[in-house]
């Protein structure tokens, strides 16, 4: 079964291009335009990985990740964050929110795919070891 990835961004073009890239690579992709929608979708069907923008209406990427982690079944979902502001996170905060990597915009879909593959494989191994 292919891995499910959720992409959250308020920019429709980014959602479009990222989901196309990931689908072409064989992943199942779910998209959301803001944090609230993402939370709802994730609760209905938890994804294997979250890709979120930082700067979004309603709640930002970090808030979304913290809220996800408040739910038991969503606790272990790893996240990749896209940011257009050169936003930096402290290592503790990254650990707390489950954000593994920060990618700065403008980003390369190729690079994003590489990060996703690496995270999901790593994640897969970790899950397998448990």
């Amino acid at each position: 079964m292919s891995k499910r990835i959720m992409v959250v961004d308020d920019e429709a073009h980014i959602l479009h291009v990222v989901s196309l890239k990931l689908r072409n690579a064989g992943y199942e992709v779910q998209t959301a335009g803001d944090g609230e929608e993402a939370l709802e979708l994730a609760l209905a069907e938890p994804p294997d990985l979250l890709i979120t923008d930082y700067h979004m209406p309603v709640m930002n990427g970090v808030q979304l990740c913290s809220q996800l982690r408040a739910h038991e079944q969503l606790k272990s979902i790893p996240a990749v964050m896209l940011t257009a502001r050169g936003y930096a996170l402290e290592p503790e905060d990254m650990e707390k929110t489950g954000i593994l990597t920060l990618l700065s915009k403008p980003f390369s879909p190729r690079e994003l795919l590489a990060v996703v593959q690496q995270v999901l494989e790593g994640n897969g191994v970790a899950q397998g070891a448990e």
């Binding site: 980014i14 257009a84 915009k105």
Partner: protein
Amino acid sequence: MGTARRLILVLIVLIALASSTAYYATEMSLRGVPVRERVMGWLAVGLTSSVCALVMVIIWRSLGKTVQIVRHQLSLLEGSGEVGLIMVDSHDELGMLVQEFNHYLTRIKSRFEQVKLQKRELDIQIRVADVEKKHTEAIIFSISDAVVVTDSFDELVLANEAAERTFGFRMSECYRQPVGQVIRDPQFVRLISDARGENMEHRRRVVEYSGKVEGQPRSFNVTLSGVMDSKGRCNGVVAVMHDVTREKEIAAMKTDFVSNVSHELRTPLSSIKAYVEMLVDGEAEDEQTRREFYDIIQNETDRLGRLIDNILNISRIESGVIRINKQPLALTSVIKDALEVAKPQAAAKQIELIDQLSVVCHQVNADRDMLYQAVLNLLSNAIKYTPAGGSVTVRSVSDDARHLVRVEVKDTGVGLSPEDQAHIFEKFYRVEASKNMAKGTGLGLSLVKHIIETVHEGEMGVFSRLGQGSTFYFQLRLCD
């Protein structure tokens, strides 16, 4: 001969006469001299006594005259307020006394002249100091920064109007009152007493201070200077408060602006980069997808271009270096072009764009590119701040009496509070409540206002109520 001696002599003569008369009368009565002869004797005694009394009266009158002269001269001197000498033509004791007195008066007179000279000098110095004081006060009162001056007991000696406003007191009521009683801010009072207490080697120190003025928080840079005497002791403190609240706000706005601009620039750039890479990597399999990618890239490139135009234009208009190319043109056609461009943005949010433009062709004398940008900005804003499913209506009406055309862009969006309406056209200003709704630089409306009012001498404004949408309008003069 002295008056006293004269009097004593007369007295001795009188006593001698009296005793010899008494002796003679006794002798005569013992010897049985007849009464007639005794009377003769008494007569002689009486005559001598009268002469003596006359001499005494003369002496006494001369003495009284001299005293009278002295008194008269003294009263004249007293009336003149001057110190002068007393002239007496007499060489008796009184004359000598007056002479001694005159010596003394001469010394007093020279001392008096000295004091008068010193007084004149002091008067001049006081006048000079007074003028200098007035100058200093004029300088202090003309400073827009608040100035507070205290003495060595931390009492208030001088404060200008700005200080009265800042701390809410009246200098006329607080002269020489302890600064702690006048200014009810312990933090500021401590700054002053610390500055006085310090051995101020540098004599000047700038500290940051924040307090409340009329209930509003404000930030100041306070320059504290010690008033030093010649012995290096601190006799007081001058505090000058420069209000940096606005500067800080602007600095924060600028930082925010740079961050917003970079975000705004990166967003279309991200799309362009991503789609180009997808094309390069051959991820778009069919021609239709490729076509779609090309369109997106083109639109995003335009968006980037518009954004850069906005930023550049606003700074050009502000610095006055922009080239304006005004010519008569049909306002409706400019608005229709902008509507066409805004369509995809509206469609993406399912917002209905309603065209209620007048069929009459309104001719205005305007710079086409700028006017187009102004209308497009208004449309794009209306779409941005209207929730999905709403509508944006564009109307144009002419006011023939005033020879004006009025364009309105009405949305069904979130609306603006009166407070936000007051600031909405300020550069970098962003409505806090709707920041989350859409991204922006806080430049769009400021640019529109510049284009309408600075470049086209028109009028720009907004009607709005929270939750009931906003109507942005502008008015331009019709061509003759």
